[in-house]
């Protein structure tokens, strides 16, 4: 496609990579200026992420049906509809998270940009090599961001994650090598034709390769989900924990979408495999979450269950319709999860005793109710759509898994609210002088604003005023 060529929705080829260009420039700026002028560097990094998010929003027409704009890194990457949508979500989330990081965290913010760039590439990857590059960048960026954000005494948890991520990366690399051997190509697009041309595949070959890929991706990008809360202490700021439990999922769902068509020739086996994997994640994730006593750890483990539900979308329908459901599952999950983790840090964090009263707990309740897929907040619509697709496809067993996941989700997300609100602490009299602002009141105010913005999204999606990824229908 040449510059200026129009799709159904007009799009200029140049537009496809503007957000990545801004992200790369922000990363370079952050790395070069990181040693000094901390405050300004952090501000510049946040500004860069905001600009990237705005450009990603403008470029939302990148997935027009008639063709795909080319990518500056060549045919290894492509910006289609799902990738453009995921890019918007990733950059917007990163901008919000970097915006609420405490002062002096400019290195962490810079590495967050690297992680974002890696995940954006992951959503655009069309070859095995591109996936490796993307995952490597995302893992290094994410883990280094956590490393810089953690104080010296608490870096043990981050170090453990480094090891897990390295192991996962190795498994992924072997998995991709096996995949290439099986399909005879690095390109996902060619793989479908090659696999179809093969007279037969060894019975366990495809599930084995897919298992390697799945385990590698999960270990490298997610690791142990509740890793960053050690007792009452937060190893890294809550916002960063939220980002690490949300952003990789966005990348993973789009990558799965790109891999599934490449295995069309073995579609029933892949679909069954995806269903089984999703069931394990749903049941395992929510059960592990249910036994956690700390809210952040509970939310982090439950994220695995949410991934399972998103994957059920793939198993539910044709790859197009399945992707739309999965994307909506993840996109409605993302703001609610990030908001809940942010507020759990703000409410339970040191210096914020007594914040159970006021608007923040109400917002937290809203996020958790949305995560539990209770109407009328955002989470219930994709869940309804998912169950509908499963029933329409006569996949009643998977429908039962999704229903069980929803039930577990209700218990996991609603029970902490009872703990939070019980006791009904007596509010101070109205004429009492307002207490002095607690420590960190500034960052708390920013957190509140960000949470309110996220909640507005959750509310609007729930009421049907916005429809995430409408063009994926």
């Amino acid at each position: 496609m040449g510059p200026g060529q129009t799709l159904d929705v007009p799009v200029v080829t140049f537009a496809a990579w503007r957000p990545e260009l801004v992200l790369a420039a922000t990363l370079v700026l952050g790395l070069l200026a990181g040693a000094r002028a901390r405050r300004h560097v952090q501000f510049a990094v946040v500004a860069g992420l905001v600009v990237a998010a705005v450009l990603a929003a403008i470029d939302q027409d990148g997935g027009g049906p008639a063709g795909r704009p080319s990518h500056p890194l060549g045919a290894h990457f492509v910006v289609d509809g799902p990738a453009a949508l995921a890019r918007l979500a990733l950059t917007a989330l990163a901008a919000l998270v970097a915006g609420v990081l405490p002062r002096g965290q400019h290195r962490s913010a810079t590495m967050l940009v690297a992680a974002t760039l890696g995940l954006v590439w992951l959503t655009e990857a069309t070859t095995a090599a591109a996936v490796l590059l993307a995952v490597g960048t995302a893992v290094v960026g994410g883990s280094m961001s956590a490393w810089f954000a953690a104080s010296g005494g608490q870096r043990r948890a981050v170090r453990r994650w480094h090891l897990t991520a390295a192991l996962g990366f190795a498994v992924l690399a072997y998995g991709l090598a096996l995949w290439s051997g099986l399909a005879g190509t690095l390109e996902f697009g060619e793989a479908a034709a090659n696999l179809a041309a093969r007279p037969s595949l060894p019975p366990l070959a495809l599930p084995l390769v897919l298992s390697c890929l799945g385990v590698g991706l999960v270990l490298s990008l997610l690791g142990e989900p509740g890793r960053f809360q050690d007792g009452d202490l937060e190893v890294v700021p809550a916002a960063l924990t939220g980002w690490l439990t949300v952003a990789p999922l966005v990348g993973l769902v789009v990558l799965v979408h790109r891999l599934v068509p490449a295995t069309d020739s073995a579609a029933p086996a892949v679909s069954d495999f995806m269903g089984a994997l999703a069931a394990v994640l749903v049941i395992g994730g929510f059960l592990a979450a249910a036994v956690q006593s700390r809210l952040q750890r509970r939310l982090a483990w439950a994220a695995a269950g949410q991934v399972g539900l998103a994957l059920l979308g793939h198993a539910a329908a044709s790859s197009g319709g399945g992707l739309a459901i999965s994307m909506r599952c993840v996109l409605t999950f993302a703001p609610a999860q990030l908001g809940a983790v942010l507020l759990s840090g703000a409410i339970a964090g040191p210096g914020h005793v007594g914040l159970r009263r006021g608007a923040l707990p109400v917002l937290l309740a809203g996020f958790l109710v949305s995560l539990a897929a209770v109407p009328p907040l955002a989470g219930w619509r994709p869940r309804f759509e998912l169950l509908q697709a499963l029933v329409a496809g006569d996949r009643y067993l998977l429908g039962g898994v999704a229903a069980a996941g929803t039930l577990f989700g209700c218990v996991v997300y609603l029970r902490p609210l009872v703990g939070l609100w019980r006791g009904h602490a007596e509010p101070p009299p109205l004429d009492e002088a307002a207490p002095a602002a607690p420590a960190g009141a500034g960052s708390l105010a920013v957190t509140s604003l960000v949470a309110a913005a996220l909640f507005a999204i959750v509310l609007a999606w729930g009421a049907g005023l916005l429809r995430p990824g409408w063009y994926l229908d």
């Binding site: 109400v362 209770v374 009872v418 609100w421």
Partner: protein, 499 residues
């Protein structure tokens, strides 16, 4: 004059009140309660006005509003009422208003309590008005979530456990209903475009069901899922385990709402969806429903007889009477179903009155232990008299509200299943026993020493109890007032199931 969009106003006014309350400071308790009461009062007025505009001879739904909501998901905002739902709408508005009046003494966490109670009211009203099954499910979930928080947050340590039980059981039921509704939607074709539909009126027409849905086994499974989901709320034996704990632990306004309204959702779900959409499956399940109703009638009566806590006694009594209604429903006769329909409304009124009176007792002494109450009639004669009247009505005394429904139910059941009718009669005898016990213990006799300083009946208590007492008398003496509203719709339902 009934304004346009009457039903939407009735359904969403309480939700608007809840949002206003959430914006108020928690210290402004009086303002919170006033807002709650005002936003609960307006729907009562509108609902009563609607009764005068309602044509009872009309079989079609009235006050219909129909808009597109989420076309991709196939949702529509489609509401309307008929002879089955209108009395329940009136009951829901009235009981919610009176429950808020009863809950006036709630001070701890008043903001959350009143906001949740109003959200619960919106959910209940939405279920009664929805004609799109997806919309109905959305409101259903709203009711369950609000009830879960009311029970868990205001019910002490016991309430926490009750809430957990309630959440797991009712959400499992709600998911069973959802899967059943999705299966129905997928296999009912809209005659206009041939596509799947959540439209309840289209689902009622058997000609729109496809071949898959015509399979007997499939219909039985879907019916079982719907009855399971609804049965958790009624509650059907043995799905009632959450109920005694809830009654033991929550402020009286919560059991009042649960017994008088939330339980009705279960019956309504069966009557509105399961029965008419799958009549052959209903006929298949008829003996099971009647048997479960008989067990509930006896089990509830025995449970009420053996307890000391008044709230628990009332909970078991309510369970027993709803068992009787289930017997009537399962009889498939016109008189049985008419009786069950009457019982649904009068049970709501009588048990609202009983729980409101019990709330008055709890406010005075902080306990509802039967052994510690004696001689109420002498210390607070008005409250004692009203409480006695409600207990006599719960007994099923002729001339009071429960009697016409109970008598019709037994008459209908006797034709089809004499054993179930016998069980219902035993349930009524047990009701006579436990109500007599409560009257003798609480209302009559010499007052104990610790009741010497018992405050007199308060104005707001009278405000809650007197209208209910008048309705209990009116519907007992002139049941046609209610029967005329419901008869056309219920007769149509009985015809559908071949009774």
């Amino acid at each position: 004059m009934v304004p346009a969009h009457t039903l939407s106003w009735i359904v969403f006014l309480p939700l608007g009140g809840a949002l206003v309350i959430l914006c108020l400071a928690p210290q402004r308790r009086e303002a919170i309660k006033t807002v709650a009461l005002c936003t609960a009062a307006l729907p009562v007025v509108q609902a009563v006005l609607m009764v005068f505009r309602f044509d009872p001879g009309e079989t079609a739904f009235q006050f219909v509003e129909h808009y597109t909501w989420a076309p991709v998901l196939g949702f529509e905002y489609f509401v309307g009422v008929d002879g089955l739902s209108l009395p329940l709408v009136v009951l829901a508005t009235l009981v919610s208003f009176l429950a808020l009046l009863t809950a006036w003494s709630v001070e701890s966490g008043a903001k959350g309590f009143f906001a949740l109670a109003l959200i619960l009211e919106t959910g209940v009203l939405g279920v009664f008005c929805a004609l799109d099954t997806a919309l109905l499910w959305v409101f259903w979930e709203l009711v369950l979530t609000a009830t879960f928080f009311l029970v868990s947050l205001w019910g002490g340590e016991e309430g926490r456990r009750a809430g957990r039980q309630f959440l797991i059981l009712t959400q499992t039921g709600a998911l069973a209903i959802l899967l059943a509704l999705l299966a129905l939607r997928q296999h009912v074709a809209d005659p206009l475009d041939g596509g799947p539909t959540f439209n309840l009126i289209l689902q009622l027409d058997q000609a729109n069901h496809d071949q898959w849905l015509s399979g007997t086994g499939v219909r039985h499974w879907i019916f079982a899922a719907l009855v399971f989901g609804c049965g958790v709320l009624i509650p059907i034996y043995p799905l009632h385990v959450w109920q005694p704990r809830l009654h033991r632990s929550s402020p009286v306004a919560v059991p009042l709402l649960v017994a008088a309204l939330v339980a009705k959702l279960g019956f309504y779900g069966i009557l509105r969806i399961a029965w008419p959409v799958l009549p052959d499956a209903a006929a298949w399940a008829r003996p099971v429903l009647m048997t479960l109703g008989g067990i509930a009638a006896i089990h509830g009566g025995l449970g009420a007889l053996g307890r000391r806590d008044l709230a628990v006694i009332l909970g078991y009594g309510s369970f027993s009477l709803l068992g009787l209604a289930l017997i009537g429903l399962g009889s498939f006769t016109l008189s049985g179903v008419q009786g069950a329909g009457l019982l649904l409304v009068t049970h709501g009124l009588v048990y609202a009155m009983l729980f409101a009176a019990a709330g008055g007792l709890y406010d005075r002494k902080g306990n509802l232990d039967l052994e510690r109450w004696c001689g109420l009639y002498k210390r607070a004669p008005v409250l004692g008299a009203l409480f006695t009247l409600a207990l006599l009505a719960a007994w099923g005394l002729p001339g009071l509200a429960i009697y016409p429904g109970a008598a019709l139910t037994l008459a209908g059941a006797l034709v089809r299943h004499p054993l179930a009718a016998l069980a219902g009669a035993v349930g009524l005898l047990l009701a006579a026993a436990w109500t007599s016990r409560v009257i003798l213990k609480v209302c009559l006799g010499e007052p104990s020493a610790d009741l010497d300083d018992l405050p007199a009946t308060r104005g707001r208590e009278l405000g809650a109890l007197v209208p209910l007492a008048l309705l209990v008398l009116l519907l007992g003496l002139y049941p046609r007032l209610l029967a005329d509203l419901t008869s056309t719709t219920l007769a149509g339902l009985v015809r559908v199931v071949g009774g």
